[in-house]
């Protein structure tokens, strides 16, 4: 099914209209996003592709509520993200969004299970958190590595831990920044399969940012960013 450029699904978790993002570097103003429309529906899988410098990271930051647009609107369940206070954005990130990074960013001093628990460590529900973390690690195939530290895990295993971590708060949206960038092809495939599996089981939308076309092939929908503007293809 093909969608027009700037397609915004009806039941979008997060959507943007005429989104512009500018950065000031010294005297120069860099326009990273030049007025784009986007939307992520619940449970769908979207790949954002494009060469480096095309605005991928900027889009990811906006989707992750890590930044707000210079103009235009980005809404989360219909609420304007620019109007959230920083504390509110932090809270919304925790409730709605999970993150997976290219270089995993596991905390080396915590075990696999503790790393998965980390986003919920301050919630004072240690028992439920532990159960959920164990369940997630079992689901990503690391049930026998619960108490291993990151340096005792392979790259693929680390990324599995990171995927489990992104799901600990039952998010509606997982943002994955080059999730296979540091993995070999075979391991990368496994991670992508894992995303597909989890998307079905957890009913979570997955946005993968990549410059790798084969990663994009695995997605329901591909958003191509070139020089701050969108080109969509199915």
């Amino acid at each position: 099914m093909a969608h027009p450029v700037g397609y915004v699904p009806e039941d979008a978790v997060i959507e943007g209209h005429d989104v512009v993002k500018e950065y000031r570097t010294g005297d120069q103003v860099v326009r990273a996003l030049k007025g784009i429309d986007f939307g992520i529906a619940s449970g769908e899988s979207v790949a954002v592709v494009g060469p480096s410098g095309s605005g991928k990271s900027t889009l990811l930051n906006l989707l992750g509520l890590l930044d707000v647009p210079t103009s235009g609107s980005v809404t989360l369940y219909g609420e304007e993200t620019a109007e959230f206070s920083e504390a509110e954005r932090t809270q919304k990130r925790k409730e709605v969004i999970g993150f997976v990074f290219q270089s995993f960013f596991l905390i080396p001093t915590l075990t696999a299970r503790e790393n998965v628990e980390m986003p919920r460590l301050l919630d004072r529900t240690p028992k439920r958190t532990r159960e959920r973390a164990t369940e997630l690690l079992e689901r990503v195939g690391l049930g026998d590595r619960l108490d291993h530290y990151p340096d005792e895990l392979s790259g693929g295993q680390k990324q599995r831990v990171a995927v489990a971590r992104s799901l600990i708060n039952d998010p509606a949206l997982v943002l994955a920044d080059e999730p296979t960038g540091n993995l070999d092809r075979k391991t990368g495939d496994q991670i992508l399969d894992l995303f597909d599996e989890l998307r079905e089981m957890e009913d979570v939308a997955v946005v993968t940012v990549t410059h790798d076309d084969y990663v994009a092939d695995a997605a329901d929908r591909v958003v191509r960013l070139i020089d701050g503007t969108l080109r969509e293809e199915s």
């Binding site: 932090t90 999970g98 993150f99």
Partner: protein, 391 residues
Amino acid sequence: MFDRLAARFPVLLLARRNLARSRDLTILAVLAVVIGVVAIGGIGLGGEAFKQDQLSAFEGFGGTATADPIDYEGEPASERGFGDGDIDRMRQAAGSATVLPVVSPGGSTVQTASGDIAVTAQVNGIEDPRAFYDAQTGEIPANWRRSVVVGARIADTNDIAVGDRITVSVPGAFTRAFTVDAILEAQGFADPLSADQTVFVPLAQFGEPRYDSAVVRVPTTAGDIDAVAENIEAALNVRRQEVSVSPVQNQRAQFEQLFGTINQFLAGVGALSLLVAAVTIANTQLMSALEREGELGVMRAVGYPKLAVVRLLVAESAALGVVGAAVGIPLALAIGLVVNALLVGDPLAFTATGLTYVAVGAVFGILTALVAGIYPAWRTANKRPVEAFQA
């Protein structure tokens, strides 16, 4: 136990793991706090022990005071100091207390049997040393007119023994050789006549002198030296101020205060080492935060509020302070034990003030660490998570 604590305060778990990660830096930072705590506590305890040791010299002088004449300019030499009349009036005013007139001629010299000059010796003329002092060796004769008795330290440093002949020379009065009849017991520095440094010559040798001062002592069981001192001053200072009587205990109080001040100053110098600890900790935390920028950014991204990151980092530096204090306190106390044993003779002779120094050192140590951690924590937490993201 730590697991249960960590379940209640998950920040502690994170903090402990992080500190364990950069172990060498952590140990150095803890060491800096330990040094500060030991410096303050050790100086405090040591100073207190020294004070106790010095103040013990005042023991036995509880009922003693010195009476000094107040001389006026233009007064003829014959009216300077105390005359016999003054001493009589003092004795009347003093009731049952003993008043002992003293001649302390300046410029006197003492030459030992071997011909050496006893450099630090001073010469005092008194009526009867038995009123105040006991002999360590020899015996002070009942009718003491023609021999000398010698203080413990002077006898010791100049090898003066009972039976020696020593020559005492008082300018304008006499130069005579005397037999040493007794060496006195050591009195300590609080003795109003500095007996340890003194060669006592019978007053009779001075003819009809003016007295340079008088020592007043009340009987040990009954009597209030402060009241006696007041009585004497009241009786003699009628027309004008003629005498000032100061109980040895007043000097003790002044002394104690002086020691307290010196001790506080020294502990303050010790506290400077905590400043160094603060710099070390701030440096450790800044480096550690820099190293973990990515991780901390992820924590912010996954929903840790700014304050939670600040709390985590401050908990780490506070933990450095707590561990430093926990190691420093027993070390300071150990120093206290040794110094007490050496100076006071009782390892456990801790004073409340001394222990307060240790407590203050510990509290300062923890506070310093905590405060030193605030800036790096605040700086790190205020980085936008997105910056950490792209690191």
